[in-house]
């Protein structure tokens, strides 16, 4: 059984009357890429800050590597790397100097540090930019520098707090690949985001939280298995009469039908050939449609079903 | 009106800083009025001197009485160190020690013809190169010589002393060229320091707000919107002017409140108030020039240029323009450079108002020069905006 790297037990954090964390608990095993998912204001960053002892909490306990975490636990801090949501680098230092500076806060030995810095630069592919100042870097490159500063010292636990915000798709993919590679090299990762696609893509275990509480946790499949919805059949139809909606509702394994903006969404629970049944019905009833496809439920569906609201705010 | 209203909303973020600066300036103004000597009618200079009478004879007492009639005698006992401090910082201009035996020796002098007794009868400590010290010593020598001569011709000490004091009464033969304007050193000095206060508060409080509006991304949002840039700039200027005017009103009240009585709501007072507002206007226009410069908004954690600008410009203008040190002391070279600051014209105008009984017509030239300075700054600011704006495009 793999060792527990992070254990948060019944954490409570209040800001005056607002409860930011309400008896929140989680456990992360070694080698996991743990996704912390939740809408804005759910308590993700508060959890991270309490975990890092940047914030005092009102109740509960935080354990890292089997020991109680505190502001003065430098031995534990040595093993943690943090990549903040905002780019936290010094404008007056070059790329190399920034990474060296932050790595130097963890690694004292000059030779080791130099090697680590080189490894970090190589890892984030910033070799061509080592003498550049942050002002001269694009958003994506800055994010990579931000990551490099957080992981250069090769920590055992890496916390990435929404590292892909405002980043182009190419850089995002690179970041995600990098995270996976770090995990392969032995680091346990805590990855917070409100982009469920990323979480689904890389995380081995996911915890969905809302209003300071755990909503659901498990692997992606486990979470999807918790909900009624096993399949969504989506049909693009213009002007569908209401009687057909009622009729489709009565089909096998269909428990909910919605028709909005020329899109018919049929939620199914169970069944293997739901899309075939729908096609049959439409053909039999001469209903013209443009497109039909099937989707597996997403984490958003999980969240929606459990909480009744979307993971991400509607645009 | 949108930007004008937003200006004050943004200002709220800086309200604490603004309040702190305003408080310190008000404190300085109040301290200034506390430090002022009470108004006296003086036709000629009276200095503060320290006299220590170790003799306590009739002669020494008469001498002290004479010195008291001519100058302000400092009371108290002080150590050597304290006396040195007082002399250095001009709290006293001269330290006179009347040694034991002074009266006896002086009396001998009136009887004998041997004048060598007179040598070193009195010990004084002063800056020997400064004219006021020479003046005080001249008075002492004059008095003692005359008393000696009168006593030699048979007049008693008291009569001789009275005669000398009477003869040395300058009001009998000295006249002032002009009728001195009814004035107060206190109110003049307080108004004199206002420019520094106005400039410091406006620069430290208003400048960051304008710089924030001029931050490139925020500015670009306005440029691409349907809101006219001219309207935006006018709104910002109006916002600056409103705050500046408010600051000036507060400082004028502080400057005036301690000076009750006949001087308030008189022509000089109204002119002084007008002078401060004209100055404020020219400083506001200077502000617009500075905000056009590519100084950059202070980033979090980096050195803040606002503080440096406030300090350097505030102190430089104040020294050059006679705010801290009277213009007459500064010399011609400095006056020539100082003429390029609004502080100089403010100071000149203020002096004319309070010491020369100037009317509006007399000081309108000074007002005009301040406004001219402001307009020049405004023009330079517009050129900068054009130049840097075009380059960016």
């Amino acid at each position: 059984m793999s060792e527990t790297v992070v254990k948060i037990s019944n954490l409570v954090k209040r800001y005056k009357e607002l409860i930011a964390l309400d008896n929140f608990s989680l456990e992360i095993k070694k080698g996991e890429i743990f996704g912390l998912l939740g809408p804005n204001g759910s308590g993700k960053t508060t959890t991270i800050n309490c975990l890092l002892s940047l914030l005092k909490y009102d109740k509960g306990e935080v354990q890292l590597f089997g020991e109680k975490m505190g502001p003065n636990r430098r031995d534990l801090k040595k093993r943690i790397g943090v990549v903040c949501q905002n780019v936290a680098v010094f404008d007056e230092l070059t790329v190399y100097e920034n990474i060296d500076y932050f790595c130097g806060l963890y690694i004292r030995d000059k030779k080791t540090r130099r090697q680590y810095v080189e490894d970090a630069i190589k890892f984030v592919d910033l070799n061509d930019f080592r003498k550049f100042y942050p002002k001269k870097l694009s958003g994506g490159l800055l994010r990579r520098l931000n990551i490099a500063c957080g992981i250069a010292h090769k920590p055992d636990l890496i916390i990435l707090d929404e590292p892909t915000v405002a980043v182009d798709p190419q850089s995002r993919n690179k970041i995600l690949e990098g995270v996976i590679e770090l995990n392969k090299n032995g680091a346990t990762i805590i990855y917070t985001s409100h982009y469920m696609e990323e979480i689904e893509q890389i995380c081995s275990k996911i915890l969905i939280m809302d209003k300071g509480k755990e909503v659901a946790s498990g692997t992606s499949e486990e979470l999807k298995g918790k909900i009624k919805n096993t399949e969504n059949v989506i049909v693009d139809i213009r002007k569908l009469p209401a009687e057909h909606i009622e009729a489709i509702k009565k089909l096998n394994h269909v428990y909910d039908v919605q028709y909005m903006s020329d899109k018919l969404t049929i939620k199914c629970n169970g069944g293997k050939h739901n899309i075939t049944h729908v096609i049959e019905y439409l053909s039999e009833n001469n209903v013209n449609y443009e497109r039909i496809y099937s989707e597996l439920p997403t984490l958003n569906d999980v969240f929606l079903e459990i909480t009744g609201k979307e993971l991400r705010d509607k645009d | 009106m949108q930007i004008f209203k937003t200006f004050f909303k943004v200002m709220k973020q800086y309200k604490i800083s603004l309040s702190i600066y305003t408080a310190i300036i008000i404190f300085m103004l109040l301290m200034m009025t506390t430090g002022q000597k009470p108004d006296e009618e003086v036709t000629l200079n009276k200095y503060t001197i320290l006299v220590v009478d170790n003799d306590n004879s009739e002669v020494s007492k008469e001498l002290v009485k004479f010195l008291d009639s001519k100058h302000n005698l400092k009371e108290g006992t002080y150590s050597d160190e304290q006396i040195k401090d007082m002399l250095y910082y001009l709290t006293i201009r001269e330290y006179i020690e009347i040694p034991e035996g002074f009266g006896e020796n002086f009396t001998k002098l009136t009887e004998a013809s041997d004048e060598s007794i007179a040598d070193s009868l009195l010990e004084t400590t002063y800056d020997d190169s400064m004219p006021y010290a020479i003046f005080i010593n001249m008075q002492i020598n004059q008095y003692l010589n005359s008393v000696k001569d009168y006593m030699k011709s048979g007049v008693s000490l008291t009569d001789a002393s009275s005669k000398c004091i009477d003869t040395m009464d300058t009001s009998k033969f000295v006249e002032m060229q002009k009728q001195e304007a009814v004035t107060s050193e206190k109110i003049y000095s307080t108004f004199q320091y206002l420019p520094f206060g106005i400039m410091t508060i406006i620069f430290s409080g208003v400048l960051p707000v304008v710089m924030s509006f001029n931050e490139s991304e925020k500015k670009n949002r306005t440029i691409i919107s349907s809101y006219k840039m001219t309207s935006r700039n006018i709104s910002l200027v109006l916002g600056c002017a409103t705050i500046s005017a408010l600051v000036t009103v507060i400082l004028d009240i502080i400057a005036s409140y301690r000076n009750n009585g006949p001087l308030l709501f008189t022509t000089p007072w109204y002119l002084s108030i007008a002078n401060t507002f004209i100055y404020t206007l020219s400083i506001t226009m200077l502000l617009s020039m500075i905000t056009s410069l590519p100084l950059g908004v202070a980033k979090k954690g980096s050195a803040n240029p606002n503080s440096y600008i406030t300090c350097i410009l505030g102190l430089s203008f104040s020294f050059l323009g006679g705010t801290f040190v009277d213009l007459s002391l500064l010399g011609d070279k400095v006056a020539k450079v100082g003429q390029f600051t609004p502080n100089y014209w403010y100071s000149v105008g203020l002096k004319q108002i309070w010491y020369e009984g100037a009317t509006f017509n007399d000081v309108v030239g000074n007002f005009g020069m301040q406004l001219l300075f402001g307009l020049v700054c405004l023009s330079i600011g517009l050129v900068f905006t054009r130049f840097f704006g075009d380059n960016k495009a």
Partner: protein, 471 residues
């Protein structure tokens, strides 16, 4: 690690254009300004010659002419001539001859001369009736008497300061209106009108020391002349030597032994330069403040990184402070060198001690910023505002803007001068100038070190982790 953090922060400071430009520009600009403003005041006030216009009326000249005439009147000759006249007349009458010779002097003239019993009588004498033929000297000596010959004018011309500079200078004008204009413009200090030997008036346009000196000169002259006239009036025979008596009357005794005031440089305006150094030193607080604030988790993102690291926070901050101390020392010593060697400002005292004092002064500023940076959860802007208050307010109370303020504070609240960083620094320089290296100076240095030490200690004590987020 300490060294590395220190070097990294030095790089940050040096590469910050805003910081470097302003920190160097500020003292150089202000120092140069002070130099042009104040460097000549003291020397110009020293032994300044006072320009005046002296208007001598005809009455005064006539009075002196009369004085000179009577002083040179050969009464013996008159007596002889009259004696001879009367003898000849008696002889002629005795011999019954016609005696047509005129009297040496008319009766009127004789009566007028005999009527002069005192100085006032002599003053009112009509010179047209004077018997010039009985002058001991040439008539032209009396007729050519001009304003320049008057004793008062000679006194004015002879007056000098100790080092030989003339005290008063006469300015020539063509009319009284011109003189009045010069006076109102401030080109002359006064108009002296000499109506008679005793009747002298002074018209001034202010009440400065120059005007006071002029009035003192006139009152002394009047005193002396008064005494001389008393002497003349006491004995009729003194009328004949009235000019000698007048000349003698201008001598007097000096009763005063002068002790020079302490201070290698007595120019009180040098205190502005002390305040400038104090201000530069205090400005170092801006650097330490911004560096420390930037490494606080509740103020910046880099602060979060640093806070999460295993570095001992205090050591990290002390390393940053060291970087500031190094850079600020360079800046302030550069400023001092500029003031001393380029602008040639005399700070008063041994140069090596001046440099030492300056270095210690910079510590005050650096530790001040260090302390303020730890003032609770206030934002960086507010902390900076507090710093500006201390800088401007402290500077003001130590005499930067109003010269007498430091002494006023010393009288009313001397404890404040011990804790005001600006006052503590200026006091050290002042002590070095006036008292030299001695107990007073050491005491001032001790205050500097104590102030720095206390601020450092407070900063260290306040340097602790705390919750930073608030919604």
């Amino acid at each position: 690690m300490f060294g590395r953090i220190c070097i990294a922060d030095l790089k940050k400071l040096i590469r910050s254009k805003t910081y470097m430009i302003w920190t160097f520009a500020f003292p150089l600009v202000l120092g140069t300004l002070f130099y042009f403003a104040f460097s000549t005041i003291y020397s110009s006030q020293k032994s300044e010659t006072i320009p005046v216009v002296i208007e001598v009326t005809d009455g005064a000249i006539n009075e002196y002419k009369t004085l000179e005439a009577f002083s040179n009147l050969d009464k013996d000759k008159i007596s002889e001539d009259f004696e001879e006249y009367y003898t000849e007349k008696a002889t002629a009458e005795a011999m019954g001859e016609t005696f047509n010779k005129e009297e040496p002097l008319s009766e009127e003239v004789v009566d007028n001369i005999e009527a002069v019993k005192n100085y006032e009588d002599m003053k009112d004498f009509n010179l047209d009736l004077f018997p010039y033929e009985y002058l001991k000297c040439d008539r032209s000596q009396v007729d050519n008497i001009s304003a320049a010959d008057l004793p008062f004018i000679k006194v004015i011309e002879d007056l000098k300061y100790d080092e030989g500079t003339k005290m008063v200078k006469q300015v020539q004008v063509s009319s009284h209106e011109e003189a009045e204009n010069l006076l109102s413009d401030g080109d002359i200090a006064g108009i002296i009108t000499v109506d008679s030997m005793t009747d002298i008036h002074l018209l001034v346009n202010g009440n400065g020391v120059k005007h006071s000196i002029l009035s003192t000169i006139i009152s002394e002259y009047k005193l002396e002349v008064g005494k001389a006239i008393d002497t003349i009036n006491n004995d009729n025979s003194n009328l004949e030597k009235s000019d000698e008596i007048m000349d003698e009357s201008t001598e007097s005794i000096d009763f005063i032994e002068a002790k020079k005031m302490a201070g290698e440089n007595k120019d009180p305006f040098v205190s502005y330069f002390y305040n400038l150094i104090a201000m530069v030193a205090i400005m170092g607080a801006m650097a330490s403040l911004s560096l420390i604030v930037n490494s606080q988790a509740n103020q910046s993102d880099t602060g979060i990184r640093i806070d999460c690291s295993p570095t001992v926070k205090l050591i990290h901050e002390l390393a940053q402070l060291t970087a500031v101390v190094i850079l600020q020392t360079v800046i302030i010593l550069f400023t001092l060198t500029y003031l001393i060697y380029i602008l040639k400002i005399n700070f008063g005292g041994d140069i090596s001690y001046i440099y030492l004092t300056t270095f210690l002064a910079s510590l005050v500023g650096d530790t001040l910023g260090f302390m303020i940076a730890h003032f609770g959860k206030l934002s960086g802007d507010k902390k900076e505002a507090i710093l500006m208050v201390i800088m401007l307010g402290g500077g003001f109370l130590s005499g930067l803007m109003y010269g007498d303020m430091k002494m006023i504070v010393e009288q009313k609240a001397p404890w404040f001068n011990r804790i005001n960083p600006s006052a503590v620094i200026t006091d050290a320089f002042y002590s070095l100038n006036v008292f030299g290296v001695g107990p007073r100076y050491y005491r001032a240095i001790m205050y500097i070190l104590i102030t720095s030490g206390i601020m450092l200690l407070i900063g260290c004590l306040l340097s602790r982790r705390s919750s930073y987020k608030s919604l």
